[in-house]
């Protein structure tokens, strides 16, 4: 039990977020999500647009403060020590979020410095990232001039430059072409062996089926069910993830408890 607890890299307990929207009034974007994600595990949050996936990931990565509930990253409470959480985190989204007027190398240098890397250590980390993600041909060009796939590679290099124990990826393949998307999937897969805990959101069922050790089905701000694909099959009696997803959503709409 102790081993299992210490192996948990991400934990959410009753995580909830409420927004005040001038048009819609009070909006409960996330209504008490619980999840555990272990080191070396890939956990996929699967759900339609507007289900609360992004809001959940933003709370876990300290971008948003939870309205209620608790979240721990590598054992550290996101509300109590958000700075330390950000130091142990790599975050990536489909939009890449790269500063357009910086070059790839400048981007890595900036993030590396802020993560405490200096001098030779910093340059060595950048050189490793250039090799690992094959940035040599475009890494010294401004990010605004790069193709989507090239941007995504710089973005991945930035996210893992400080070798974080936890990676949070928000719809990382959205907007990518086939090759770039394939590269991203390979990258996520490779982190399992490195012992990194990867939590990623997607609405692409095949991605989740292929990559995830465990899957959490998110709908209308709630985690309807969570577990391995086999556990979800057993829970719903359905074979394919698409059928499992439909079954769980129908049960939720009918007001039945899911998991």
């Amino acid at each position: 039990m102790t081993d299992l607890t210490s192996a948990i890299a991400i934990r959410a307990e009753g995580l909830a977020k409420t927004f005040h929207d001038p048009q819609r009034g009070v909006v409960e974007a996330v209504k008490g999500v619980d999840l555990d994600c272990r080191k070396g595990e890939i956990f996929g949050l699967l759900g339609p647009n507007g289900a609360g996936k992004t809001t959940t990931l933003r709370m876990l990565s300290t971008i948003l403060a939870p309205t209620s509930g608790r979240a721990l990253i590598d054992g550290i409470d996101v509300a109590e020590d958000p700075l330390e959480v950000r130091r142990r985190l790599g975050f990536l989204s489909g939009s890449t979020g790269l500063y357009p007027r910086l070059t790839g190398r400048e981007t890595l240098r900036y993030f590396g410095r802020l993560h405490g890397l200096e001098g030779d250590r910093l340059e060595a980390a950048i050189a490793r990232a250039f090799d690992a993600f094959d940035l040599h041909s475009f890494g010294d060009g401004r990010c605004e001039a790069l193709s989507t796939g090239q941007k995504q590679r710089v973005s991945i290099a930035r996210a893992v430059l400080h070798d974080p124990p936890v990676l949070i990826l928000d719809e990382p393949t959205t907007g990518l072409d086939i090759m770039a998307s394939s590269d991203m999937i390979q990258f996520i897969d490779s982190r399992r062996e490195a012992g990194t805990c990867v939590l990623f959101s997607t609405h692409i069922l095949s991605e989740a089926e292929r990559l995830c050790d465990r899957i959490g089905i998110v709908y209308d701000g709630r985690m309807l069910a969570g577990g391995s694909l086999d556990e979800l099959r057993a829970m719903t009696g359905k074979e394919w993830l698409e059928e499992i997803f439909r079954e769980l959503v129908q049960r939720a709409d009918a007001g039945e408890g899911a998991a």
């Binding site: 927004f19 403060a65 975050f91 007027r101 900036y110």
Partner: protein
């Protein structure tokens, strides 16, 4: 918290702020609009603007002098002939003055004369009294809306002055007296101040307003770029994930905007001071009475601390307001009226009678402009300058609080829509 960890935390915030400011400045200087307003405008525009202005004035003056003009003289035949001899003097580099004699019964009525000028019979009309000791003065009629008529007036007045001097000399010679004895009161005006004080006065009307305007313009684009621009480029999330204290992040943005504002103001003041000195001197022909414009280095150095406080005030205020916008364009629209709140008081300081006193020193914007003017003309005193520093420090701190409060708000930092000003106070009050 004990003082040691607090100091460490403070140092961490400052270190983070400087790192962010360094990166943001580097990025800003790769932005065309920021470069244009910070470097290109002061370094190229003022010298070019002054050069074009001076060359334009010189060309216009030269053209005026080279024009031929026609003067209609209304006088008795003998007087008209004398006037023709005296006025139709040909000087090198100047146009000809043609004198035509008009009938002596030409009425001295404005409408009739205007008609003659309009019909191009003459550019100006001189009504000369019949006798030298006639009580009526000579009357010169011209049309002030016509450049040609205005030029004719200048040329005739100049020729008449010369004729008057000759007549005075003749009269004095006839009486064997000094010609000056024929002038009951001789007045010579002489300035007691050195001509460089006139130059300082000219600069005191230009530079204080320019300081305010350029601080605002220098901060304008970076403020929008680092807030609304960041949301538009979808990099706000990346920035919020930086492993640094949020206060350091927000201060870093304000520092970067402030640095651009200060660079823009400094370059503009130096460029304008140097250009004005060189080119106004050229325009005035560097005569003895011409204002001598020198770069007021002493005043510039003295105003620097107050200008820095003002730049912080402006930068923080603009950054805060711009953060409410979701796009660069909307940010510009939001800051338009706000920049006028800074510029209008600065313009008002050029009103007659405005000076730095213990009262005006409390009014932000007005105070920095008046303090600069006082330093330029040497009338600023320590008391009001101190009040000015206190007022600007308080304004800057309040603006920084305002800006950090907004930037720290989730509603502001990640909003995909521009937040109406009506919600501003609710956001500022929220926890």
């Amino acid at each position: 918290m004990s003082s040691a960890p607090r100091k460490t935390a403070g140092a961490g915030v400052l270190r983070a702020a400087l790192a962010v400011a360094h990166k943001e400045l580097g990025e800003s200087f790769r932005d065309r609009q920021t470069l244009l307003y910070t470097f290109v405008l002061p370094l190229c525009m003022y010298p070019a603007m002054f050069w074009i202005m001076v060359q334009g004035v010189l060309v216009v003056q030269g053209q005026k002098q080279a024009r031929d003009v026609t003067i209609g003289v209304v006088a008795a035949a003998e007087t008209a002939e004398a006037a023709r001899e005296q006025l139709a003097v040909n000087e090198e580099g100047r146009g000809r003055i043609e004198v035509i004699a008009l009938p002596p019964d030409t009425p001295q009525e404005t409408q009739v004369i205007a008609g003659l000028i309009e019909a191009e019979e003459a550019d100006a009309l001189l009504f000369h009294p019949a006798e030298r000791d006639d009580a009526d003065p000579a009357a010169l009629f011209f049309d002030s809306t016509s450049s040609q008529s205005e030029t004719a007036r200048g040329r005739v007045v100049s020729a008449l002055e010369q004729w008057t001097a000759e007549l005075r000399q003749e009269a004095a010679d006839a009486r064997d007296i000094d010609p000056e004895a024929l002038e009951p009161i001789l007045v010579q005006t002489r300035k007691v101040n050195p001509s460089k004080d006139d130059g300082a006065l000219v600069l005191s009307l230009l530079l204080p307003m320019l300081l305010v305007v350029m601080c605002v313009l220098g901060a304008f684009f970076p403020a929008v770029d680092l807030t609304a621009g960041e949301k538009e480029r979808q990099t706000a999330e990346t920035t919020l994930l930086l492993p640094i204290p949020r206060l350091g992040l927000h201060l870093g943005k304000i520092f970067a905007v402030c640095a651009t504002s200060m660079i823009a103001a400094t370059l503009n003041l130096l460029a304008l001071g140097l250009s004005a000195g060189h080119l106004l001197g050229q325009l005035a022909g560097l005569g003895d009475g011409a204002p001598k414009v020198e770069l007021p280095l002493g005043a510039l150095i003295s105003i620097a601390p107050l200008a820095a406080l003002f730049a912080f005030f402006v930068s923080a205020a603009l950054t805060g307001v711009a953060s409410l916008a979701a796009t660069f364009k909307e940010g510009q629209a939001l800051l338009g009226p706000v920049q006028m709140l800074f510029m209008l008081p600065a313009m008002a300081t050029n009103l007659p009678g405005m000076e730095l006193t213990a009262t005006t020193a409390w009014i932000p914007v007005v105070n920095v402009s008046l303090a600069f003017r006082g330093l330029l003309v040497g009338s600023a005193s320590a008391g009001p300058l101190l009040i000015c520093a206190l007022s600007l420090t308080a304004s800057a701190l309040l603006a920084i609080w305002f800006s950090v409060r907004l930037l720290s708000s989730e509603e502001v930092s990640l909003s995909s829509e521009t937040i109406p000003m009506a919600r501003l106070f609710r956001i500022l009050r929220s926890r």
